[in-house]
Symmetry: C2
Subunit: 318 residues, 2 copies
């Protein structure tokens, strides 16, 4: 399988980026196509910030801060300290190197480049061979409905540290958003060997991508098998607020509930659901949803873990 | 004199900022009003940069890099290194701390503050007691006419390191520019005790200020004496391209030629021209222009030099 055909990965930021890192090690050439959530994108202090795209770029180019889980390695915070002194909003941590990415992006947008093209240029400059595809060039913004009222995603995620209980999500602009034309071009030219939904947050990372009008049906109807890796392992989220959100949404906090969520919203999309070894007992229940399952170690702590999961997926696809 | 009345200083960046620093030591209260050239202002990578205002703010708040002559002390260059890696234009040296100033300014402008108001806020946050008045809230841009064609000031000054011989200057937008309303308000409420033209570049720092329609006549007609400190000492500019420009404009490179330039453009404006001790022989020639002169040490190398010149001027005014 790895000899021919593209692997299309759908991902949000940190959790999904780990698997993408593993896939990029296993497929060290442009056949890895990564469709990235852009509904977390926002403008802060005039800077156009694409958190998930940047996490992918930093991770795949070896520039990410592994221990911190976000941002760049060897980052400094001189600008932020001055902004704090000036009373600017500093809840979103902008590192000095990270600011340069946003300034560059701002300039590229001002010169008329679309997000997809400029992201390709960034990837090229940083030696990323996988193709990083923003889900859309059109603006989409996640709004989190919380007990404090609706708030933009970054306010919920960073400013309020995911604390306010959530009751739902809306994706402003989604009706008018078109899939990244490059993605459509890829799907038109040949079906990918497989589509992998990374273990990202279903509600705020994967759902925005699959909510672009017509996109999930397009992915369902192409010949490629669709595999989703569970972001929930033994009733816990490896990273981020997925489990907390499920609980607040009154869903069982299980991998099965994630599969059911996908099956309900996108009937017939998923062919395989990948469970962690610790969730092997859920296989029958996943079966009952009409989805095949596979069981393997899905927790990615080390580089080797990421590569191993990627290799397992590629074997399964083959 | 120092007991009552405002001192109005007209200045560009580095050279004039030295005298303003001395004046701010001598008048440590808001009676020092500093009118700053904004015709060097430009937008770079989307950041609104006001080089002369920032030099004043950094200098008067003790944040400037004294040895470098521009920018902030304890500056770092992480963002610039990334911008370079990404192939962005890096001829204008943006330090990490300096970027924060521009991001803050950008945000303030986006919130509807004018340049004068936001500059006052920056000064307040950084403990600058002198009032820093951008010459205008309206955009004015110096264009330098050179053998390579006309170019924006920062391209001439930084990108081309003042190398192309110049033949003249234009101030785009000057016809529509109104003086800073706060400056007019100050002039309306009471004449200042004196107006000091700092030893800044006559052509690209002082002329833009005095070219705002009606402003120089207004300053001439108010009761305050107008003193100009020569930026040329013994045929050399202390800092920057003043002497080189004079030579290329086929002017004698002398303090007298600077006084003559001011007298020709702004007849009757100057009451006193302050010469360095080394130029004492020029007193008679300055007299012939119809301008009084005073001779003192005008070279400001140390903090004490700046204070001494400020004190001398204040005695003269008194």
């Amino acid at each position: 399988m790895t000899a021919t055909g593209n692997i299309l990965a759908l991902t949000g930021g940190v959790g999904g980026a780990k698997l993408c890192f593993g896939l990029a090690q296993a497929i060290p050439d442009p056949r890895l196509k990564i469709v990235v959530n852009t509904a977390d994108d926002f403008v802060h202090l005039g800077l156009p910030i694409s958190p998930d795209i940047d996490t992918l770029l930093y991770t795949l180019s070896g520039r990410s801060n592994e221990s911190q889980g976000w941002g760049r390695a060897d980052e400094s915070w001189q600008a932020l300290a001055v902004l704090e002194e000036l009373g600017a909003e500093t809840w979103f941590q902008l590192g000095d190197k990270d600011i340069a990415t946003h300034l560059w992006r701002r300039q590229a947008l001002a010169e008329g480049l679309d997000l997809s093209t400029l992201t390709g240029k960034l990837a090229g400059k940083w030696g990323v061979t996988a193709e990083i595809l923003p889900m859309s060039n059109d603006p989409v913004s996640t709004v989190v409905e919380t007990v404090l009222g609706p708030m933009p995603f970054q306010h919920y995620f960073v400013k309020h540290r995911c604390e306010p209980p959530v009751s739902g999500f809306a994706f402003t602009g989604i009706e008018a958003a078109r899939p990244n034309p490059r993605l459509l071009e890829l799907l038109d030219s040949a079906p990918p060997a497989a589509i992998v939904i990374c273990p990202s947050n279903p509600f705020v990372s994967v759902d925005p991508i699959l909510s672009i009008p017509g996109l999930w049906q397009r992915l369902r109807d192409c010949a490629a098998p669709v595999l989703a890796v569970s972001p929930i392992v033994a009733g816990m989220a490896i990273k981020g607020p997925t489990a907390k959100m499920m609980s607040e949404l009154r869903m069982p906090v299980t991998a099965h509930a994630v599969a059911a969520h996908y099956q309900q919203r996108y009937p017939g999309l998923l062919d395989y659901f990948i469970l962690d070894d610790s969730d092997a007992t859920l296989v029958d229940d996943i079966d009952k949803l009409g989805i095949h399952s596979a069981v393997t170690g899905t927790v990615m702590t080390t580089m080797a873990d990421k590569r191993r999961l990627a290799d397992t997926l590629l074997e399964l696809i083959a």
